[in-house]
Point group: C2
Chain length 308, copies 2
């Protein structure tokens, strides 16, 4: 059982979808990653920052999932990062209505002593220099460093992004962002270009169209589970990444074959995330429900063609 460090946002989200809208609820990349990874009972810690307005019950929720929160800085007089967005009818695109960085603007992450030798580091979407600072605090080279990022940093911190990308093992990025980062439309060609930037493993997330894992000439694909209704896509990508990281941390196996399983676990967990608003579905997810859905994934994708 490996140790897992997660750096990312703890946030308030206000979400509007065709199905309804929420006031400020619990959100943030580290929240979704942590809740997802906690399914594997790994020794995980979140490194993040919040304001004095962040409810103790949200912190308790994470603690109760056995997530170490000693690396969460609480700025008593500050306000927590806030994001607000509205999804279009197709649920694949959204408008950002508000982004208030608040305490996040001065985030200087401190990895707790106990986690500076973590096996797996999951760098959630943040400024590339913040991600880099976490890596620099590790006293033992991690077995696997996973980085998530987004187009925003390509637009305004591309050089820093390249600096951190050079130092990581796995990048998770969505299809449009992979195209933006490389200038290539073909995801096969884009993945090859990203390999040449550093990461040996490239995960391209395609939302409802699944995810691809590239490692040189090896390619693996996992669909998203076809659902009757996607209620709120917020956090699906982070939940996917958290499942991936959590499974790798649990198994301690960073082979390509095992990463396939990690991708399947990530997709499975993400399929729950979107069924309710925010983190609601992830908070009380049972092993039995996950097991049942893993079986559905097998039925969805596995076939028997005998090939000599």
């Amino acid at each position: 059982m490996g140790k897992l460090v997660i750096v990312g946002t703890l946030a308030f989200d206000a979400i509007e979808t065709p199905f309804g809208k929420t006031d400020k609820i619990l959100g943030g990349a580290a929240t979704y990653i942590g809740l997802s990874a906690s399914q594997f009972n790994v020794d995980a810690a979140i490194v993040s920052i919040v304001g004095g307005d962040f409810p103790q019950e949200y912190l308790d929720l994470l603690s109760n999932k056995n997530i170490d929160i000693s690396g969460v800085e609480i700025v008593k007089n500050g306000k927590t990062f806030f994001w607000s967005g509205k999804y279009h009818n197709d649920m694949n695109s959204r408008d950002t209505l508000a982004t208030e960085l608040n305490t996040l603007a001065d985030f200087n992450p401190i990895v707790p002593e106990d986690y500076r030798d973590a096996d797996i580091v999951m760098l959630g979407n943040l400024h590339p220099l913040v991600q880099l600072s976490v890596l620099n605090q590790m006293t033992v080279k991690p077995k696997l460093v996973i980085l998530d990022t987004m187009n925003f940093w390509m637009d305004c911190a591309l050089k820093d992004l390249h600096t951190v990308i050079k130092k990581i093992d796995v990048i998770t990025i969505n299809d449009e962002e992979a195209r933006q980062l490389t200038g290539e439309y073909s995801l096969v060609v884009a993945a090859r270009k990203i390999h040449s930037m550093g990461p040996k493993y490239v995960v391209i997330k395609k939302g409802e169209h699944g995810a691809l894992l590239f490692n040189g000439d090896n390619v693996f694909f996992a669909p998203a589970l076809p659902l009757e209704e996607v209620f709120d896509p917020t956090g699906a990508g982070d939940t996917f990444a958290g499942g991936f990281a959590g499974y790798i941390a649990k198994t301690g196996d960073t082979s390509f074959e095992n990463m396939k399983n990690a991708i399947i676990h990530g997709s499975t967990l993400a399929s729950f995330c979107v069924e309710k608003f925010g983190t609601e579905r992830m908070q009380d997810l049972s092993n039995k429900e996950v097991h049942k859905r893993l079986l559905q994934f097998k039925q969805l994708t596995q076939f028997e063609i005998e090939l000599a």
Copy 2:
């Protein structure tokens, strides 16, 4: 080894893609379906119509693949159906530049006597009443009737489309068309509604995003093989359907489990079709190439998670 009847167009296509453009080349749904199904050495016949301008070499090409063309009517003084289209840069959307029905306008398909007891009937995209007329000529109820259609018939012959849909076993339809036919955005819900219209099996084609097979609560998904370059998507959907129909005809097994394999074979063959203009890649495709790509499909999709 079952008999397979294919009804559909033999056509001239003029295609423009970001990679180049063609003059009039061999096209048409029945052409792609036939070439694809011929990979399985089944006893297949094409029922179609062409004008006197249709080159003998195109007919020979089909005959040389052991496809019976006695059901192809040649209207000496008529012209062959012509379609011209231009693909956008993303290769997922296209504009139709010209559609000249010509002899197709008066197509009255006649199924050759020898094929009126065929096991498998593949109704390529045509006016629903033309598709229905083929079904009515069958003297023995086929083991499986597969129908392909498109949004055009939903716009202008919806009632006739419903009449034929009621009588078939498998419908292949793309995602946008499934949504148009049912008024449902969720493909899971759309598939259920299409089930209630008649077909026990619903195949929803998502282009580069793969294909879904629904049979009640059973769902199977096959991705499209990630390619470095999609050169020309024309005929990919028909090649997919031809591979599906050909594999079912060869195996004679219409179980859901075997349909999964048929979907994989269809996806595999479609992945070749798009690599060159028109039918070029499909004309000389070797068993060895197909076998190699089936292995790639396994590596792309198969994983080992032990579930109790």
